[in-house]
C-alpha cells in the first residue's frame, strides 16, 4: 500500500491530518497546564490568553496550603490502595479457576461479573447508601472502599480472566507432577508468572477508585472526602476559583497520566482486549 511514488502526496496529507487531529486532542489539556501556572489574577482575564504572560506557582501554593486538599489526596490514596488490595485478593483466584477449570458455575459467575459492569452506579449507589448507613459505615474509609470494590472486582475479574487465558494448563499439571497441591501450584508457580498481568490489573483498579466521583459524593461528607469531591467544590463553595481549580486538577491528574504513559503498551493492551481479542 505504501510503495507507489504517486502516493507521496496523499502520504503527506495523511500525516498532516493525523497531526492536526492529535494536536487538537492534546490542546485542551495543555491549556489546563498553562492556566495552572498563571498568576491567579490572570486566570480570569478577558480576553483569555493561551500562554501565561508570567509563570507563577501561586495557584499550587494556595491549594497545597489549604486545609482540605492535601487531606483529600491522602484519603483518595488510602481508599484506592485498599480497594486495589481487596479487589485483587478476591478477583485473582476467582479469575484463575474461572478460566482454567471451566464448568457451568464459573461461566455463570463470569457472566454475572460482566453484567455487573452494566449496572449504573447511581442504581447501586442508592441501596449501598442504605446498607452502609445501617452498618454505621457512612463517611468512613472502609465504607467507601467497599463501594469502590463493588465496581473494581468485576473489572479485575474480566481483566485477569483475559490474562489467565494465555496460561497453558500444562503449567499447573507439571507443578502437580512435582508434588505440589493445587493451592501450592497456584501460589508458587502460577502467580509468579502472572506478575505483569496482575500489575496492569492493579493499576486499572487503582485508577477506577482514584477517579471515582458519584459514590464519594453520595457516601462521604466531612471526614473522608476524596480529591475529586474537594476539587469539584472549588467551583461552588469558593465561588469560581478557576486558578486554584486548575492547579488542583493538574496535581490530581498528572501522576496518573505520567504512570500510564510510562506503561502505555501494557495499558492499551489491557483496554482493548476486552473488546478485541489479542
Amino acid at each position: 500500500m505504501h510503495r507507489a511514488p504517486r502516493l507521496n502526496v496523499s502520504g503527506v496529507l495523511i500525516n498532516a491530518a493525523a497531526l492536526v487531529l492529535v494536536l487538537s486532542y492534546a490542546l485542551p489539556y495543555i491549556y489546563l497546564l498553562m492556566t495552572s501556572i498563571k498568576p491567579a489574577a490572570d486566570v480570569q482575564q478577558i480576553p483569555p490568553s493561551f500562554f501565561p504572560a508570567v509563570v507563577s506557582f501561586e495557584n499550587f501554593r494556595e491549594v497545597l496550603r489549604s486545609s482540605t486538599l492535601p487531606r483529600a489526596f491522602v484519603n483518595s490514596l488510602i481508599v484506592a490502595v485498599l480497594t486495589t488490595a481487596l479487589s485483587l485478593s478476591v478477583a485473582v483466584p476467582a479469575a484463575y479457576v474461572a478460566t482454567q477449570y471451566r464448568r457451568r458455575i464459573t461461566t455463570i459467575f463470569l457472566l454475572f461479573a460482566l453484567v455487573t459492569r452494566m449496572v449504573p452506579s447511581v442504581a447501586l449507589g442508592v441501596p449501598l447508601f442504605q446498607l452502609l448507613k445501617s452498618l454505621g459505615l457512612l463517611d468512613t474509609i472502609p465504607g467507601l472502599v467497599l463501594a469502590h470494590t463493588s465496581a473494581a472486582v468485576p473489572l479485575a475479574l474480566l481483566l485477569m480472566s483475559a490474562f489467565f487465558e494465555g496460561v497453558p494448563k500444562e503449567l499447573e499439571e507439571a507443578a502437580r507432577m512435582d508434588g505440589c497441591t493445587r493451592f501450592q501450584a497456584f501460589r508458587k508457580i502460577i502467580l509468579p508468572v502472572m506478575t505483569g498481568g496482575i500489575a496492569v490489573t492493579a493499576l486499572f483498579t487503582f485508577i477506577t477508585s482514584w477517579n471515582e466521583f458519584l459514590y464519594a459524593l453520595l457516601l462521604t461528607s466531612e471526614a473522608t472526602k476524596t480529591a475529586p469531591i474537594v476539587i469539584a467544590e472549588y467551583n461552588s463553595v469558593y465561588g469560581l476559583a478557576w486558578g486554584a481549580m486548575t492547579a488542583a486538577a493538574v496535581l490530581y491528574s498528572l501522576p496518573v497520566i505520567i504512570v500510564t504513559l510510562a506503561l502505555q503498551k501494557q495499558i492499551v493492551g489491557g483496554l482493548t482486549f476486552g473488546a478485541v481479542k489479542g
Binding site: M1, N15, A17, A18, L19, L21, Y25, A26, P28, Y29, L32, Q44, I46, P47, V90, P93, A94, V97, T106, F109, L110, L114, V115, M118, V119, P120, S121, V122, A123, L124, G125, V126, P127, Q130, L131, K133, L146, T149, S150, V153, F183, F213, L214, L218, P228, I231, A232, N235, A249, Y252, S253, V256, T260, L261, Q264, V268, T272, F273, A275, V276
Partner: protein, 293 residues
C-alpha cells in the same frame, strides 16, 4: 464432591461473597425499596405502595424528560466519538508503523479523570473567559465571543456538555478500532486491489464488514457508559440551567439526596437497571458469546 470441585469453590468463594454482598444484595434492596414509600430520615417507617412509585416516575414530566435527554446525550456523544475515533484509527493504520507517537498522545485523554475533563471543558466553554469562543472569533466563525452561550442556553446545553465526553473517550474508540483494523488480513485487501477495487470500494466491501463485530462492541460499551454518565455533566452544570442538562442518573440522585424520596428513586433506579440489562443481554448474545464460548 471431588478434590477439584472443592478447590474451584474455595478459589471462587471470596469473590462470590463480595459480589453477593456488594452487588446482588443492594440490587435486591433497590427492587424491594421500589415498592414502598420510604422517608430517608426514618427508613424503618415504610408503607407498601405497590407499583405506585413506578407509576409516579413514568408520569412525572421531569423524569420522562430526563430519560429522553439521556437518549439525546448518548446518541449525540456516541455519533461523534465513533466518527472521530474511527477516522483516527483509519489515519493511524494508513500511517502504520509511523503512528506510534500519534497514538501515544491521542491516548492521553483516556487517563484524565472524568471530573477533570468536566471542569476543563466547563472552563473552555464558560461565559466571558471561555477560550473556545475567542478561538472561534479568531477563525471568523462567529462575530463576538458572547455569540454562543454553550452552558447557559437551555436549547443547546445537553449537547455542549457532551463535548467533554467526546474528548475523553474518542481515544478509546480509536484504539479499539485500530486494534481491529490491524487484525484484518493484508492479503484480503491486496486481493481486492488486484481485482480492481478502488480504495473506497475496498473500505466498503472488505474493511467495514470485517470490522462489524468491533464496531458493535464499541457502540454497546460506549453507549452504556454514556447513558450512565453522571460526573461529567454534574461538574459542568449540575443539571442546569433549569434542568435542561439533567440526565436520568442525575434525576435519580436528586430525588434520593435532595428530596429524600428513597422509594421513587429506587423505582427509577430499577427501571434504569432493566434497560441496561436489556442492552447487556443484546451485547452478550451478539458479541461476547462467540468470543468467550
Amino acid at each position: 464432591m471431588s478434590d477439584e470441585d472443592r478447590f474451584v469453590l474455595c478459589m471462587l468463594a471470596p469473590a462470590v461473597a463480595i459480589l453477593g454482598v456488594l452487588v446482588a444484595y443492594p440490587v435486591g434492596l433497590l427492587i424491594f425499596d421500589s415498592f414502598f414509600k420510604v422517608d430517608t430520615i426514618t427508613p424503618h417507617i415504610r408503607e407498601w405502595v405497590g407499583l405506585q412509585n413506578y407509576f409516579d416516575a413514568l408520569t412525572s414530566k421531569r423524569v420522562v424528560e430526563s430519560a429522553l435527554r439521556t437518549v439525546q446525550y448518548t446518541v449525540f456523544a456516541l455519533f461523534f466519538e465513533f466518527t472521530f475515533g474511527f477516522c483516527a484509527a483509519l489515519l493511524f493504520s494508513a500511517l502504520a508503523g509511523q503512528s506510534r507517537w500519534h497514538r501515544t498522545i491521542f491516548a492521553l485523554p483516556l487517563m484524565v479523570p472524568p471530573i477533570v475533563a468536566g471542569l476543563l471543558w466547563r472552563f473552555l466553554l464558560v461565559g466571558n473567559i471561555g477560550i473556545l469562543n475567542y478561538g472561534l472569533v479568531r477563525l471568523g466563525l462567529i462575530s463576538d465571543p458572547e455569540a454562543i452561550a454553550w452552558l447557559s442556553s437551555e436549547d443547546i446545553v445537553i449537547y455542549s456538555v457532551s463535548f467533554a465526553d467526546i474528548w475523553l473517550t474518542t481515544s478509546f474508540v480509536a484504539l479499539v478500532s485500530y486494534a481491529g483494523l490491524t487484525n484484518i488480513p493484508k492479503d484480503l485487501l491486496e486481493a481486492a486491489r488486484i481485482d480492481g477495487a478502488n480504495a473506497l470500494k475496498r473500505f466498503w466491501h472488505v474493511t467495514l464488514p470485517l470490522m462489524r463485530p468491533v464496531i458493535a462492541v464499541v457502540v454497546i460499551v460506549r453507549g452504556v457508559d454514556a447513558a450512565k454518565t453522571f460526573d461529567l455533566i454534574w461538574i459542568q452544570t449540575q443539571g442546569g440551567p433549569r434542568h435542561a442538562s439533567e440526565v436520568f442518573s442525575m434525576n435519580i440522585y436528586q430525588r434520593m439526596v435532595r428530596f429524600g424520596d428513597l422509594g421513587e428513586a429506587s423505582a427509577s433506579g430499577t427501571l434504569f437497571l432493566i434497560v441496561m440489562m436489556g442492552l447487556a443481554a443484546v451485547a452478550y448474545w451478539k458479541i461476547w458469546r462467540p468470543v468467550h464460548a
